[in-house]
Structures are given as C-alpha cells and as structure tokens.
C-alpha cells in the first residue's frame, strides 16, 4: 500500500500497463518529456522510452485519429486531451471512427483506445478549461464513459479501461487531482467498468453523483446527518454503461432520489438518472426525482464561477426539500 492522490494513481496504472503490455502507447500534447500539464505522466517517458510515451503535434483530431490507425494495427493507445474544452477538434474522430470502426468492420477492427480527459470546474481557469460535457459523450453509441472519484478507483478503472476492447473516455476530475490521498495497493488490480458503488448506506434519500461532486455531496451529508436525515450515496464511477441495477435497488429502498452533477442540467446525465427512477421505480417514489446540476450556460470565468458551481449547501437544500416534499 502507498499513499496516492489521483495523479499518482493514474500514473501508476499507466506504468503498470506500459510495463506488462508492449502494445500500450501513451501520447498527447506535452505528455512525453514534460509529463503532461498536470504531471500525470511524469517519469513514464524516461522509464518506458520515447517510442511508447511521447509528445504529439498539437492537434487533437490528429491525436485521436492516429489512435484509430494504431488500434487497427494492434496497439492499445492511451491518448490525452489536455483539457476538457480542447476535445472538440477530436470529436469527429471520436464519433465517426473510434466509436464506429468495430461496428463498421463487423468486429474485424477493435478499438481499444482510452481517451484521458481532465474535466470539471472549480480551479479558477480560463474558458475551455472547466466544463463537464460528459453527457455529449455518454450519448455516443460505441463509447464507454468512466469517471473515478478516488485514487483507488482511478487506478482500478484505468486498468480496466486500457484492457477494454471498447473505446473508453476516461474523465479525470482535475479539481480533486491532488485533493484526496488514499492508501492504494501498488499491485495491479482493476475496478470493473459499469459498476457503481454505494459509498454510504442510508434510508431517506438516494444521492447519485460522480467525480469531483462526490466530495461535495459528502460535505452536504454532514449537514444532513446533523438534521437527522439518512442519505444513501451512490458513486456512479461509470456513466455509460449505467449501473441501473444499483440505482434502482437503492431508489426502491429509499423512495427518493437526488442527482448531483456539475454538468449543464438539460439533457444531461442527470436527466437519464431521472428517467431511470421513473421507469424502474415509479411506484416506490415518495417525492419527485430531483436534479442538482449547473445552469445551462457556459462555465463563467473564475470571478463568476461561484454562481455556477454546485456547493454542499445547495445539495443539502435539495436533499431536505426532497425528503420534506
């Protein structure tokens, strides 16, 4: 066991896979020599060589598109998009090829590609550096969308993602990159894609969240406990494929559900969770399913971001209103 933050855990997972599988290559902008702008890949080029961990030209479509060719030829590329807001030039390669080549070739060409994407707000950054547009990607057939909230899950999920024969968008909550330290096994282990985790058992309300929002919900839960409410917290860990079973079972038990996400609210991951609660647990509901999510606006610049970000008291407010409905 070793104390790791999410940055260390992602680095460790990459190191393990680079060591055991010669087909794994890691590249992107600043990923090689410097180790990435967040230093997630630090030291990997030195250890595994410039052919396996390298800087690419500054072109997201090129990074994603070359991964398609590499995957077709048998490699398992792990590519990095430097910031969430920079992924859009690669969108065509993701939606037109990475997620379709397997279907188009009737299974001939698998696309074991991992796209690492630091996402989310709360870091006082420029425009294009703070968004949470995971719903766009979760909507794409052929893609799996994964988002850890702890160092342990970051390591285990990334190992699963690299070993997956399907392409995986691996969202890294950059706001908590270094905020949480945890004892994580230095051995290889994996956390399965598609399985949510019940972080806290409760009886009054189910709260579903993921990524950096887990920490905010946990703060809200301190307030809830003081108020005498019992909250069941589910960490999604995988957005697609959604673990419907875990969510449904929990909602049937508590009769209430609150979704917490920093994404724009409309047509989001939260919308899907709301639909699920209604479709699968309608007769168990004692209150309308509730979303706590961001405004349908561009993430404001740092001085205005506090208007946008989801805070623990806002989560508590929604929890209380749902319980008292």
């Amino acid at each position: 066991m070793k104390a790791m933050n999410i940055v260390n855990a992602v680095n460790d997972a990459l190191d393990i896979k680079l060591t055991e599988d010669n087909n794994v290559v890691v590249y992107g902008e600043d990923v090689g020599f410097e180790g990435g702008v967040f230093r997630v890949t630090e030291g990997l080029q030195k250890k595994h060589g410039v052919e396996r961990v390298f800087d690419s030209p500054l072109a997201e479509s090129g990074i994603a598109g070359t991964a398609v060719g590499m995957a077709a030829a048998g490699l398992r590329p792990v590519i990095e998009m430097q910031f969430c807001g920079f992924i859009y030039p690669a969108f065509n390669q993701i939606i037109s090829h990475i997620t379709r080549m397997h279907n188009r070739s009737r299974g001939r060409y698998k696309m074991p590609i991992v796209i690492r994407l630091p996402y989310g707000g709360g870091i006082n950054a420029l425009e294009h550096h703070s968004e949470s547009m995971e719903a766009i990607f979760a909507h794409i057939p052929g893609l799996k969308v994964v988002v850890p909230s702890t160092p342990h899950d970051a390591k285990g999920l990334l190992i699963s993602a690299i070993e997956s024969d399907d392409p995986v968008l691996f969202l890294e909550p950059k706001r908590i990159y270094r905020a949480i330290k945890q004892e994580v096994s230095e051995e290889k282990f994996s956390v399965p894609i598609g399985k949510a985790k019940v972080l806290s058992q409760g009886t009054d309300v189910t709260v579903v969240a993921y990524g950096a929002m887990i920490r905010e919900v946990q703060k809200a839960m301190v307030m809830a406990k003081e108020a005498g409410y019992s909250v069941e917290l589910i960490d999604l860990r995988t957005i697609y494929p959604l673990d419907k079973e875990t969510i449904t079972a929990s909602v049937k038990k508590t009769g209430r559900i609150v979704f917490v996400g920093e994404e724009p609210r409309s047509f989001g991951v939260g919308s899907e969770i709301m639909a699920l609660a209604n479709e699968e647990a309608f007769l168990h509901l004692e209150a309308p399913p509730k979303r706590v999510a961001a405004f349908d606006v561009i993430v404001p610049y740092p001085r205005g971001e506090h208007h946008y970000m989801i805070t623990p008291d806002k989560i508590f407010y929604a929890i209380e209103r749902t319980i008292k409905y």
């Binding site: 479509s61 030829a73 390669q93 799996k144």
Partner: protein, 362 residues
Amino acid sequence: MFDQFDPAEDKMLQVIDNNGKVISKELMPDLSDEEMVKLYKEMLFVRTLDFMIVSYQRQGRVYTYPPNYGQEAIGVAAGAVLRHEDWLVPAFRELGAWLAKGVTMKEIFMFNMGFEDGLRFGEANHVLPFSVPIASQLIHGAGIGYAIKYQKKDEVAMAFVGDGGTSEGDFHEALNFAGVWKVPVIFVVQNNQYAISVPVKMQTASTNIAVKSVAYGIKGLKVDGNDIFAMLAAFRYAHEYARKEQQAVLIEAVTYRKGAHTTSDDPTKYRTTNEEKEWDKKDPLRRMKLYLEKKKLWSDAEEERVTEEYKKEIDRQFMETEETVQYPLEDALKYTYAEMPQDLRDQQIEHEKFLQWKNARK
C-alpha cells in the same frame, strides 16, 4: 524521381501520351507482356464492374454508388504495388485497389445493397472499411504508419483521398503527423477535378496538390493518373522509398471523374461537354489499349470476348448475393461494442417482446 518531377515546378510524371505512345522510355516500369495485359484486364474489369453496379442502381437493386469511371488506372496501379502485408486505407473510389487486396465482389455488392457485412473484408488483409467523412481516414493512415514503425514491421500504408479532401484540416494533420513521425505512409490524392460540383481551383490556390508536401517536409509527386504506367512507376518508387527511408510521400494523381460523383449526382449541371470530350482523349483504358494494340497484345475482339465473360460472372455473383443476404435484428445490435453492455441487451429483449406481441396479433 522526386527531383526530376519537382512539384514546385509543376512537373508531372507521364510515360505514355494520349495516343499510347511512350514519351519517357526510361520511366516505363519493368513489365512483361503478360503483366501488361493483366493490368489492362484489371482496368477493364473495374470499368465493367463499375458500369454494372451503376446499372443495378438504376434498376433499384443497390443504393447510392460512387462510380470509378475514368479513374481506374489509379486503383489498379495501387493494387499492383500493395503487398499482402501492406495497408490500404480507402476513401471510396479505389475499386481496383480493393479487389487486388482481396475485397470480394460480393462484399462490394453487399455494401452497396445496404449491409455493413460488405465491409467485413473477410478475405482481405489490412484493409480498413471505406470512409465517408472526407479526409478523416488519412489520419488513420498516419497512425498505422506509427504502429508499423513501432512494431518494426516491413509494411507500408497507402491512404486515399480526393482533391476536395485536401481542404480539410485532417489532410493537414495527417501529413503533418506522418512528416514529424517519419512513418511509411503513401498519401494518394485522386485529383479528379471536382468535389461533387466544386472545381479544384476553388479548393486550393496552390500550384498543384503535390507541392503541399513541401510544407510537411515530405516528398511529393504529381502524376498523370490516367497513365497506368506512370502511376505504377510512381507507386513502385514511392513504396520503395517509404519502406527504405521510413518516410511519408504525397502523390497527386491527376485524373477526371468521367461519371457522376454518385448515382444521385448530375454532372451536366456543372461541367461542359467540351471539357468532357477533352478528357475522353486522356481516358486511361483508351491510352493503354492503344499502346497494347501497337504491340499486338490486345484487340477489339479480345476486349469484347473478355467483357462478356466479366459481365456474366459479375451478374452471377450479384444475383447470388441478392439471394443470400440477410439482416437479422441482432446484426444491428451486436457490433457496436466488442463487449455488449447489459443495457443494450435489455433494449434488445424489450424489442423482442414487442415483436412477439406484434406477431401474435397477425
């Protein structure tokens, strides 16, 4: 060869003229008589197959189809150079190359009849499926090039695009990546003068397309795409160069799309009969045929006999395909993921329940 035909000076590699007369003997590729006839027959086969598919489309038996008419020399020459282990990254108008790489006629029919199964390419090695989003596939070529180099394999990737595709950002990114990474990729631009209705002069202000190679630090060649010997000479040279030097090459094949962009297009709206007549003189089959006839290697009678044979075989395989293809529900669902998510399984089960209900009502 790259120095001799410097694209910056707008030089174009040609071996025979419009009348099939050899104009640069030293560039004539080394070919036996049999090999020459084989190349011609391959072009003739492509043209026959192409015409037949267009006629099937007119009969409502296949969907939209992009004809190769007029551009046969490029695909056939590419097919003659690509080895079993080499990669073909197609756009969608390289029929000769597909066939040479082992794509079957039935697969081509299936694809055009509306079955993804036609892109399985079960007997072909290292061929990516056709790519519709223009120029996006070129980047795959650069990625394959990286994998070849990384795996230390003796392979070359050949990636195709049209003249319109050179305007896309992905064209730039692909050539740039391949240039920086120094990988064995041959990018082939079939400059057929039009991107649907838009003429090439509205795509670029460059002297030609091959000269764009200079900006990426790679070699470029402008070649007469209607001269099979020139195409073969260029491809052989580029292939050898890409392998030996581990470098990318850009080849512009100057040609003319004698047919429509696709069967949904009407070229009479945007080009003149005079222009078409000028290009008729440069037709790749006509030119090679004139050359072969002078060498007494080919005749009209032979052409008629062979064409009839081809037509019969094509029609037989087409009808066999029509009779055997099926599209069961599970085929629509099972290939999107390598590992099918439970939710998608549930969607299938839900749909099957609906189908049971529907069938019970009948």
